[in-house]
C-alpha cells in the first residue's frame, strides 16, 4: 500500500474570467521514498502540496477521483479530523523561515506546539522532545536556541528549526515546498542533507517541490515534471538524460553549464510547446 495515492487531482479558483484550474488532473503515488516535483513558478506544484495538506481554503476547490493518505480518504474529511493528521502524520516545510516562523513566539514554544495539540505529554516531557528535535537538526546548543526568537537566528538555522518543528511528531509524510530557495547557497546543501537524513532514518515519504532540476535530481529517487498544472514527464533521478518531453528538454537546455560555450541561454518556445501538448492531448 502506498503512503499517498493521488488520482486526477484538480484545484480550481474562481476568477472574473470564470474558474481557473491551477492543478489539472494530477495522478501519482508516493511510497516511503523521495519524490521530486519540478516546474516553473505558476505550474501548480505548490498548490499540489497545499491541496494534499488540506490547506486550500475557500474560494479554492479541490477535487480528485482518489486522494488517499495511509489508506484514509482525504476527500471530504471533516476539518477536525484533518487537523489530527496535520502536524502529526503529515507535515510541510515552507520556503522562507523569515516569514514562516511566528516572530513573537520563542522557537522552543513553536516546536512544542505540534506536541501540545497532538499528544498528552506534560510541559516538561514536551520540552525534552523539543530539545531532541533541535539536536536532530544538528543544532549544537538546543537549550539556548529554544529560548530565542526567530529574528535572532540566521536563515539556515531558521530553516533547520522549521524542519525540527515538522519532524517532532515523526510524521509519515513530509512535503518540502522550495525548502532552500530562500537560503544562502552555502547552507542549502547542509539543510537538504539534514532533511534527507531524517527522512531516510525515520522511513518517511518526502515530496520535494522545487524549480531546481539539478537539486531535485540529486536528492530524490523519482522526479515528476509539471507544466501548467499537469505532469508532463516522470523520470528516474539518475536518468535526466533520458528525458523526452520538449518542456523537460527545454528546462535542461536552459541550465547554464560550467564550461559554457553558448553566448545566450535558450528560452522555452511556449507556442511550440503548447502545440505539442495540444497534439498529445488529442
Amino acid at each position: 500500500m502506498s503512503l499517498l495515492a493521488v488520482d486526477n487531482l484538480r484545484v480550481t479558483f474562481p476568477s472574473d474570467q470564470g474558474p481557473v484550474e491551477v492543478v489539472r488532473g494530477l495522478s501519482f503515488a508516493l511510497g516511503r521514498e523521495r519524490l521530486g516535483i519540478v516546474g516553473e513558478s505558476g505550474s501548480g506544484k505548490s498548490m499540489t502540496g497545499r491541496a494534499i495538506m488540506g490547506l486550500i481554503g475557500a474560494p479554492g476547490r479541490v477535487t480528485a477521483d482518489r486522494l488517499e493518505f495511509e489508506g484514509r480518504d482525504l476527500r471530504n474529511l471533516p476539518e477536525w479530523e484533518f487537523r489530527k493528521l496535520r502536524g502529526a502524520r503529515m507535515s510541510m516545510v515552507l520556503q522562507d523561515p523569515k516569514f514562516s516562523l511566528n516572530p513573537v513566539i520563542r522557537i522552543g514554544d513553536q516546536i512544542a506546539e505540534a506536541l501540545e495539540f497532538h499528544t498528552q505529554l506534560s510541559a516538561s516531557a514536551r520540552r525534552v522532545r523539543v530539545l531532541e528535535a533541535l539536536e536532530a537538526v544538528r543544532i549544537d546548543d538546543p537549550e539556548r536556541v529554544a529560548r530565542l526568537y526567530p529574528h535572532e537566528v540566521s536563515g539556515g538555522m531558521g530553516q533547520r528549526v522549521m524542519i525540527a518543528m515538522m519532524v517532532v511528531m515523526e510524521p509519515a509524510l513530509m512535503i518540502a515546498d522550495e525548502p532552500t530557495s530562500a537560503l544562502d547557497v552555502s547552507v542549502r546543501g547542509q539543510v537538504l542533507d539534514i532533511m534527507d537524513d531524517l527522512v531516510r532514518r525515520r522511513g518517511m515519504g518526502l515530496l520535494l517541490i522545487s524549480h531546481d532540476l539539478n537539486m531535485v535530481a540529486r536528492w530524490c529517487d523519482r522526479i515528476l515534471v509539471m507544466y501548467r498544472g499537469q505532469i508532463v514527464e516522470e523520470l528516474g533521478a539518475g536518468a535526466l538524460n533520458t528525458a523526452q518531453h520538449p518542456y523537460t528538454l527545454g528546462l535542461l537546455a536552459s541550465l547554464p553549464k560550467l564550461n559554457e560555450e553558448r553566448a545566450t541561454l535558450p528560452i522555452l518556445d511556449r507556442a511550440a510547446l503548447d502545440g505539442f501538448m495540444a497534439g498529445a492531448a488529442r
Binding site: 495538506m53 490547506l55 476539518e79 487537523r83 489530527k84 493528521l85 496535520r86 502536524g87 502529526a88 507535515s91 510541510m92 515552507l94 520556503q95 522562507d96 516569514f99 514562516s100 516562523l101 511566528n102 516572530p103 513573537v104 513566539i105 506546539e113 505540534a114 495539540f117 497532538h118 526568537y149 529574528h151 522549521m162 518543528m165 515538522m166
Partner: protein
Amino acid sequence: MTLTQTMTQAPARKLAQRVWPPLRFVLTVAVTFLGLLAITFVIGRVVPIDPVLAVVGDRASVETYEAARQAMGLHDPWVVQFARYVGDVVQGDLGQSVSTGRAVADDLARVFPATLEMATLGILIGVALGVPMGVWAAARQGTWVDQVIRVIGLAGYAIPAFWLGLVGLVLFYAKLRWVGGPGRIDIFLDGMVPVRSGLLLLDSAIAGNWEAFRSAFSHIVLPATILGFFSLAYIARMTRSFMLEQLGQEFIITARVKGVPERVVLWRHAFRPIRVQLITVIGLSYAGLLEGSVMIETVFSWPGIGNYLTTALLNADMNAVLGATLVIGAVFVAINKGSDALYRLLDPRART
C-alpha cells in the same frame, strides 16, 4: 590594556547600562514637558487677549493699567517671563481662573478626575468589545458577521455624539428609568463622599458608601457606554485590518500545518503580533477621550475638562485654557511613554 584595567572598567560599564535607560527616560520626559510649556507660553502671549485688561477691566485708568501690568511682570523680557512661568508650573501654580475665581490647579484637580473616570470606563468598554469584534470580523471576513460589525463601526463614525447622548437620555433615563440622569451623582448624594482620588466610583468604594457607588455608576454608565461605542468603532476597524494582514502571513500556514486549532491560530499566532499596533490605536483613542468629549460632557452636564476648557475659551480665561492644555499635553506624553514601555514588553524585536 592591562588585565586590571579591564576588570575595573567592566563594572563601570555595567553600572552605566543600568543607570542610563531610566536617566534617558527622565531626560526625554523633561525635555518634552519643557517644549510643551514653551508652546503654551507662546500661545498665551500671541492670543489677542490682553491679560491685564482681563484683570482690571476695560474702564480702568491708564495708571491702574500700567501698575497692574508692572505687577504681573509683563514688562520683563520674555525669557524672564518664561522662566517665571516654568517655575510657577513646577510649583503647581497655574494662576487664577478669571471665570471661576479659583486657582486653575484646584479647578483642574476637580474636573480632570471626572473626565478620567468617564474616559477610562469608556476605553475599557471600547477595548473589551472592539478587539473581539475586530478579531471575529477578520476571522469571518466577507460573511454576514463581518458585514454586521462593519455597519456597527460605520454607525460609530457617522452618528453625532450629542444625538446619541440625547436619545440615550430620553430612552434609558426618561422613559425606562434604567440609568441616572445628567451629572455625576444624584443631587442628594452630592458631596457625601470624601474626596480622595476625585474618581467617584473609587472614592465611594473606598468609603464603603455603596448607595453613592450605585448612584455614581448609574450616572456614568450611559455617557461612558456612548464614548465606548465611538472608540469601539475605531478599535474594531483597526483590529480587523491588522488581523487580516497577519492572517495572510506564511506563519499562519505553518501553524495550520502543525495542526493547531483555528481558535489558537487566531489568538496566539495572529493576535499576538498585532498587540503592539493595537496599543498605539488604543492609546490614541484613550488620549482622545481624556481630552474630554465636549459634546458628551455638555449633554450629560458632566463637570469634566472638556466642559471646563470650552467655558474658559468662551470667557477668554487664558490661565484656565493654558492649564487645561498643559494637562492634556501631559496626558499625551504619559500615554506615549506608557505605550513605549508596553512595546518593549510585548515585542521581542523591539527589545534590543
